[in-house]
Amino acid sequence: MNDNGCIHLNNFKAAKGIHPYKIVHAFFVSCTSYEARRYKATSCLCFTCGQPGPRMHSCLHCIYFACYAGHIQDHSKSKKHFLYVDLSYGNIFCAQCQDYIYDRELTEIAMSHRLKEAKSLGISVPFMPWLPNNNEALALRRLRKRRLISPHTTIGLRGLQNLGSTCFMNCIVQTLIHTPLLRDYFLGEKHKCKAQSSGKCLVCEVSKLFQEFYSGAKTPLTLHRLLHLIWTHARHLAGYEQQDAHEFFIATLDVLHRHCMNGVEDTEKKENGRCNCIIDQIFTGGLQSDVVCTSCSGVSTTIDPFWDISLDVAGPGSLQACLERFTRAEHLGSAAKIKCSNCRVYRESTKQLTLETLPIVASFHLKRFEHSSQIDRKISAFVSFPAELDMTPFMSSHRRAVDVGATDNNNAPEGVFEDNRYSLFAVVNHLGSLDAGHYTAYVRQMKGSWFKCDDHMITRASLREVLDSEGYLLFYHKTVLEYECDVS
């Protein structure tokens, strides 16, 4: 099967052009506007029998609608109109060839209508696999080296030398390297450095690191250049003593985010007031804080960006319970009065945190280290965490619906089609005590394939082992990605 259509379709196109197909497709296959949906809703019935199916088709010659149970065929025969369009999928049937036929030009029209339809409905654009263009196809033919990815493949896995208590860095690097979307970004060579002085950009360094991890070599890597770069840009982490992996993670994201912005024009930096660098696209979510005055019930709402969520571990036994508590309304008491903008005096109030927007990677920090003036201690309480996590209950929109008792809201179209499922892909663990500890990381290499990274040693692990571990930092990746597109 090729995509050059057939002689009959080509003759039709030569005589009447692509306009008839375009109209039928935009109004009755992929409705690109509300008006189109109105036409589709009221007129997609068989002109012969009045039924809405099975498999409605439209004659391409005279826009006669008929079902595939015989009526479109009757019409085709009696009028000698041999081309008709399937109204569910937009494919063209040629009665002379007796089969559906493919035409590249019309396929492209159909695709652009599908994008416009998704935009008009406010839903995610369907995933479109990468198709190499002519240049890329040529390059693929020229470069004959191929790597086969099998379930037993170990490509992308490399140990990291410990440079003297740098396990906190190693486990964060392993996590970043195994962040699916970050990997795709760097292996796709999307970072185009605009910094003036090369060798000082951490993003370039991470880009090189991805090449090292995926080179196929198996010897452990030494990250002295990366460590040096972070020391220079996050001075509080400099020195050879053990650092907190969480602090290192946040500092690394911050330096990466700053370096992404190097040399970028101010006008390109922001999109709807939000930074669009790869770090913010993947890791940034919005935390909503609602402060309600107990006297006048006035609500003051603020939304702040976040890269991770720090959770108290004393008490609850599971990640979900921690999140439940994190998003519960909290009474601030008489000692913490806040000036109500409505009453214009200091009032007692309640405060509730919820997630307004979710990042693609949700990072949770279990607060296992307690530092106070009296005592520094580690809390080793067991907190279970799932391999698959639905974040819907912790969203601002959901919480609001629950609070006003309007459970119906969950069935509103947005609720039905919203997909907030996340999958675990990395866990950082702290072993030992506060002053003599060691960090290791579990990373997911492919679906269902886990490895334990202990500095230079990489060993296969089971999901059970991962879920039974203590857990200090937990990393979840959005299970289903939404796609956006630019269509006019």
């Binding site: 409705c31 089969d99 509103a412 039905v416």
Partner: protein, 93 residues
């Protein structure tokens, strides 16, 4: 189709919810591997009939019953429940 059914159907198209549900179904069928299974079924039919000219109609007749049976109950239940609640909440407005 009764008059009520037709109206419900038209409303679903008009609001765009029919497309939204279709997209949801499409996602679920891809996630659970149904689409890949059906692709294999089609491949088998084409292989069995290598000597003949395989047409779309023939493929549909042969594959549809088996493909329908392969749709997981969980997917059917989810869609049924969501469409039902959606239609019921719509009515009140």
């Amino acid at each position: 189709m009764t008059v009520n059914n037709t109206i419900a159907h038209q409303r679903l198209i008009l609001s765009g919810d029919r497309e939204r549900f279709k997209e949801l179904l499409r996602r679920r069928l891809i996630e659970c591997g149904w689409r890949d299974q059906v692709r294999m079924l089609c491949r088998d039919v084409v292989k069995e009939n290598e000597s003949n000219n395989v047409t779309f109609d023939m493929l549909v007749t042969r594959v549809t019953p088996r493909a329908r049976a392969l749709v997981p109950d969980t997917v059917k239940k989810e869609l049924l429940q969501k469409i039902k609640t959606h239609l019921l909440t719509q009515k009140d407005q």
